[in-house]
């Protein structure tokens, strides 16, 4: 795993130096509109989130559960288009130092052209990409282009990942490795289970310096549990639901609460 000038790595390391796990918050772009996405992301940054993840709404989000699907369908219906992701990223990075990763299914990137997408993302101040349906095996072009533009490439590892794939995926990643906590899709769960810990341990054993856990995390208690063994905790669905139900203030309040769980040794 390469650390060289990685914005995502720096954010996780900063949290580590403060004796805690990084808190990573996800929201889809354009839900309910672009200005609100930016406002909500800045509220996350101001309330304890170390790293912001912005998703590109896509027609076929196979890794997403109902809450995120509904939000992205709404964003697309309201007219969100892929190039607006750069406005969102620029809007956030021009107002905060908290880095922004873009989470995207691969076809929108291919359609724009991997190089063009990367250059515009870098220009907007983005840190890199989280790619839920791109595995390193298919990523030769993205590997080269992300090196060229100094972008992070966050791949996923799962409870089903073989030891050999764990090693190659860790090796291909930059920033951190995204540990999928359960075999399933996004959506709040009451418990993330023992599988998450095993994924993190395996990824560390395979050489990963930073492993962050996502899928199903919705409460400060869960954050605290995962912070006990992982380098960062990713929260998505719960934040999307908060934005849907209570707007930006609800996002701010939830982040403040979640961030109380990041301490490595909660007393």
């Amino acid at each position: 795993m390469k650390t060289l000038s990685s914005k995502a790595a720096a954010a996780v390391e900063k949290a580590r130096s403060e004796g805690r796990a990084a808190l990573i918050g996800y929201l889809p772009a354009g839900f309910p509109d672009v200005p609100t996405t930016i406002e909500a992301a800045l509220a996350m940054a101001a309330n304890g989130v170390d790293l912001i993840e912005i998703g590109i709404p896509y027609s076929d989000p196979v890794m997403d559960g109902r809450v995120i699907q509904d939000a992205t369908v709404q964003a697309l219906a309201a007219g969100f288009t892929v190039p607006q992701i750069f406005d969102v990223v620029r809007g956030i990075t021009s107002a905060t130092d908290v880095p922004v990763l873009v989470m995207t299914y691969w076809n929108p990137v291919m359609r724009m052209g991997v190089r063009e997408f990367a250059s515009r993302l870098a220009e907007a101040g983005g840190a890199g990409l989280i790619t839920p349906d791109l595995i390193p095996d298919e990523a030769a072009e993205w590997m080269a282009v992300s090196d060229e533009f100094g972008l992070d490439r966050v791949y996923l590892v799962a409870p089903s990942t073989s030891p050999a794939r764990m090693r190659s995926t860790v090796e291909a990643s930059r920033g951190f490795v995204y540990g999928v906590s359960v075999m399933g899709i996004t959506g709040a769960r009451t418990s993330v289970g023992a599988a998450a810990r095993a994924v993190v341990d395996d990824a560390h054993a395979a050489g990963a310096e930073r492993v962050c856990v996502g899928l199903g995390v919705s409460s400060a208690a869960q954050v605290a549990e995962i912070a006990g063994y992982a380098d960062g905790v990713i929260v998505g669905t719960a934040l999307v639901a908060a934005l849907r139900d209570g707007g930006v203030p609800a996002v701010a309040a939830l982040c403040k609460d979640l961030s109380t769980g990041t301490g490595k040794n909660p007393s």
Binding site: T81, V82, L156, V180
Partner: protein, 461 residues
């Protein structure tokens, strides 16, 4: 991999590659039995994961282990005489293989007077080619120790076939189907339920076949230990395209032997409809290394490709990734999948299997759109001339065959007769399911009849 920029325009003529193929035709035919297509690298049995720049595994990491397990199980099964014997046995004693090859003499009069032969997949158990694939995959599911299969379906053909195989082999079966479709295809839903399957209406996204695949994939990620995803066409992530083709290769193998027996020579053209591409690749495969045999895939042209309401993926799509494979894809300028339209639910899919994308690019097969109207005209013609009611999907292949026949007849060499030319059409399914749609289309139902009400909603009885 590099981003390959394909021209977005139609590529239906493939002029240059055809010229080359034609010059080799006679020699290839003469030398066929000894060594087919000796000057060409064989296109048969392409193992994947890649077909040229297409195919691969554009899939979440969570599913890669399951794809690996499936691939290993499939590779081992192919080499296991017990497995191949099981397939042969089920094909002959359950599915009804070999399917007939029927000459359609009266229909052929409308195809420029060339000879037209129908590969009768409509006579298989459950009424289409789909049974070939589901039996094979259900056996693999058992070999992997899985107790549950899931499937997607549009009109319900693949769902019914999957429910059938699951019932036969004692597997639990769950079928994902767009909510609209479950209402419009209430009888096919009942069929699946009679066979013991659970049908889950999909209310996500555009609520169509592609969304049913999305939900099946979501189910699979969460239940992969117990569950096999029984994908219904030659698309998706490796090993699905090569594996689904393998189970359908029997169509082409039989057809090739049958046409040689009935006419003493290879056909001039083979025609099939293309949704995801499974029936087409199944019959094409038998002839891939016979350069004299032209291969034609007919896509759903809907209201006409210029109308924007169609499913002509290869004709008008651009390379992209969907459901695990890189292939041609109907997508907008931002890479969002577009909704497809066709009178035929089985062709109404915005993607296509990657091997077809490759065969199109190298010019080995040609893909052309057929409109709803052309398909329905051919549907009626086959009913009236041959006493065979085809599936509306299949009617696209029949409409295409009429054009191919007329072109062959217009292009005869000196001394050649139209009757020397031979076309095989893959009659992929029977039209029982389409009677209400067709009756409504041809205005055969009395006003205010219950049937008309159902048919207006697209019910396929």
């Amino acid at each position: 991999m590099t981003d390959i920029h394909q021209p977005a325009g139609p590529r239906v003529s493939g002029a240059a590659p055809h010229a080359e193929i034609d010059s080799d035709a006679a020699e290839a035919f003469l030398s066929h039995d000894a060594h087919s297509a000796s000057d060409h690298e064989s296109l048969r049995h392409a193992p994947g994961p890649y077909f040229g720049a297409y195919g691969g595994r554009w899939m979440p990491e969570s599913l890669i282990a399951a794809l690996d397990e499936l691939q290993e199980t499939f590779e081992a099964a192919k080499k296991d005489p017990e497995f191949t014997a099981q397939i042969t046995e089920l094909n002959s004693t359950y599915a009804g293989r070999p399917s007939l090859l029927t000459e359609a003499k009266s229909f052929a009069a409308h195809a420029g007077g060339v000879r037209v032969f129908l590969k009768r997949e409509d006579l298989n158990h459950t009424g289409s080619h789909k049974i070939n694939n589901v039996l094979g995959q259900a056996l693999l599911a058992k070999r992997m120790g899985k107790t549950r299969v899931i499937a997607e379906t549009g009109a319900g053909q693949h769902g019914v076939a999957s429910a059938t195989a699951a019932a036969l082999l004692g597997l639990e079966c769950v079928v994902y189907m767009g909510a609209e479709d479950t209402r419009r295809q209430a009888l096919n839903v009942a069929r699946m339920q009679l066979l013991g399957a659970e049908v889950i209406p999909v209310t996500n996204g555009s609520q169509t076949l592609k969304d049913a695949i999305n939900d099946a994939l979501r189910d699979w990620v969460a239940n992969v230990d117990s569950t096999h995803y029984l994908l219904g066409t030659a698309a998706g992530a490796h090993p699905f395209p090569a594996m689904v083709r393998y189970f359908h290769e029997v169509i082409g193998e039989e057809a090739r032997a049958q046409i040689l027996e009935q006419t003493g020579k290879l056909p001039d053209a083979v025609c099939a409809c293309v949704g995801g591409g499974s029936n087409a690749i199944g019959i094409f495969h038998g002839f891939l290394d016979d350069p004299s045999v032209r291969l034609y895939g007919f896509e759903a042209g809907g209201d006409g490709v210029e109308s924007g309401r169609h499913a002509a993926t290869i004709t008008l799509g651009r390379p992209g990734v969907l459901h695990g494979a890189r292939s041609y894809l109907m997508q907008d300028e931002y890479g969002q999948t577009m909704e497809s339209h066709s009178i035929s639910a089985g062709l109404d899919y915005p993607g296509v299997g990657p091997e077809h994308a490759y065969l199109a690019d190298i010019g080995r097969a040609s893909y052309e759109p057929v409109t709803d109207r052309e398909a329905m005209d051919a549907f009626q013609l086959l009913c009236r001339t041959e006493g065979i009611i085809p599936a509306i999907e299949t009617a696209h292949a029949l409409a295409g065959a009429l054009k191919v026949g007329q072109r062959l007849a217009a292009d005869l060499a000196p001394g050649e007769q139209a009757g020397d030319k031979v076309i095989i059409v893959n009659l992929s399914g029977r039209g029982d399911k389409d009677v209400a749609t067709a009756a409504e289309y041809f205005d055969l139902l009395p006003d205010d009849s219950a049937e008309q009400e159902i048919a207006q909603e697209g019910e396929q009885l």
